[in-house]
Amino acid sequence: MIDVQDVCKSYGKLRAVDQVSFSLSSQRVTGLLGPNGAGKTTLMRLLTGYLYPDAGVVLIDGIDIAVHPAQARAKIGYVPENAPLYPELTPYELLEFVLAARARSAAALGQSTIRKQTGRRLLRRHGQREHIESVIEKVGISEVKSRTIGSLSRGYKQRVAVGAALIASPQVLVLDEPTSALDPNQTHEMRQLIRELGHDATVLVSSHVLSEIEAVCSDAVILHRGRVVGRGDIASLRRELSAGIGERIRVAFDPEYNDDILVALRSTPGIAELEPELNTGALLVRLQPNAEGPQVLFDFAAKQGLKLKRLEPLEGGLEEVFRVLTAEEVLP
């Protein structure tokens, strides 16, 4: 549904997006991860046709967005970062405007028969009002639909922006930090909504909150300094990249560790990282990728005359994978 091929975008001398390529298939929710300045927002702007790439191609359902921008954009719903909206309009008026601009244009631009029929159906005034009301209910803004957007809280504005992205039932949804202004209950509801949307549309969600990506996304693309440093479904991404960065193990010795043991363990070949775990007396150890599993810890305990009280392999979290990938130089 979304096909990105060798896309580059620079602002002056700064290369914000550098030869990015990936494909997103239909009916999947994909997370776009990356630290600040990684190029996430620029990439989302390229995918939605707000910006055109300096090089490379963005295809939306096979349509080059730089060549046929209106046709490609008719398939996309977009929630920009910080949900910018017209403060003078009410949520109802905004949704009415976006629906009119999107549904009518979709019909005029010769979208698929189903889309045309949807467009025509939505054009019928009564059907249009019902449709807008259903979206208002879906995103939970019924109680503020007649107030001006300028008087709404950030959380409500964010939900209005999501409503505007959903209003024309797009095939592709691009959401830039969709829960950044929501409270925990609203965040939970929004995640539920995003998961539901993934049943019908291709959804791309950017977020700094890794738990959010893990909670709602089946796939992830990790960006660092404008380049893709990891992509795939989250389970295999976590597995493969954990293998690449070394196994993590929780270990406890008897007697408990002291400074001498920490110094000796740190200098032991095969140990990449070492961190005492608070209040448990255990140590969190990350082995070198080529280390022979926990054997290195057995050998260390024997050499130091310690008993192994606990040895527990840990599953690498997305957060650790993200931290390692984005803390270092771009991987080849």
């Binding site: 702007r45 920009p80 909206l85 017209y86 309009l89 009119a100 631009l109």
Partner: protein
């Protein structure tokens, strides 16, 4: 086409909820009336013509039109709503024309509010109805060009105050440039060029009751050029 109308309606809604529109309307109506009755001295003259009323329009529009167009594109970029607008399935030309039509409808509403002046004065003498019609046509044409110029300046700016200052400055120059030869002596061809470029020079004929097709062509050409350049800048910003 329908997307364009949706955008026009959105622009109208935003303009009607924006204080500068009401301030500009009040300024236009009161300043034109004060000029006509107090400075021009219509009641003291024994002539049944609104020529003095409309002659003031080009200078008044120098302040009124930028107040309407300053938000146009500059505010879209400042608020970030350009991301919402420019990712709609509308072509750049539709976006530009939609915004233009929205602002022009506001200008037409303003001009409608000047009609009572004409209706109230007409029983006082034998006014030339044809002349009043050409005066309105001229005012609509010069306003249309000023709106297109104002929106073009707005797309080049990222805040409304710069857009207002830029548009007002440009309109002032284009309005007065034709009269420069009154102040300083200019070579004949240069004076001719400046007269041709001036918005005010072309407006004179309409005020005198002449439907000048060369002036009509000038306003339509300049309006189209500004709208085209606005669309070019929008596209260039996508590639910047």
């Amino acid at each position: 086409m329908n997307g364009l109308l949706a955008l026009t309606r959105k622009e109208l809604r935003i303009q009607f909820s924006s204080p500068p529109m009401y301030i500009a309307t009040a300024f236009l109506l009161s300043a034109a009336a004060m000029w006509f009755f107090l400075v021009h001295g219509f009641l003291a003259r024994d002539t049944a013509t609104l020529r003095g009323y409309f002659a003031a329009m080009p200078l008044l529009l120098v302040l009124v039109i930028p107040a309407l167009t300053m938000k146009g594109w500059a505010e879209e970029y400042r608020l970030g709503t350009s991301e919402l607008l420019l990712t709609l399935p509308l072509r750049s030309v539709e976006l530009v024309v939609g915004k233009y039509l929205g602002t022009m409808l506001i200008v037409l509403c303003m001009l409608l509010l000047t009609l009572p002046v004409a209706f109230l004065l007409m029983p006082l003498g034998e006014f030339d109805l044809g002349q009043i019609v050409t005066e309105y046509i001229g005012t609509i044409l010069i306003s249309g060009t000023a709106v297109a110029l104002g929106l073009f300046i707005s797309v080049l700016c990222t805040n409304q105050s710069t857009a207002f200052t830029g548009a007002a400055g440009l309109l002032l120059v284009l309005t007065l440039i034709g009269r420069l030869e009154v102040l300083i002596s200019l070579p004949g061809p240069l004076a001719g060029v400046l007269r041709y470029v001036s918005l005010d020079t072309h407006f004179d004929g309409f005020v005198r009751g002449v439907l000048d097709f060369r002036a009509l062509w000038y306003y339509l050409w300049l309006t189209s050029l500004c709208l085209y350049l606005t669309a070019v800048v929008l596209e260039a910003r996508r590639r910047a």
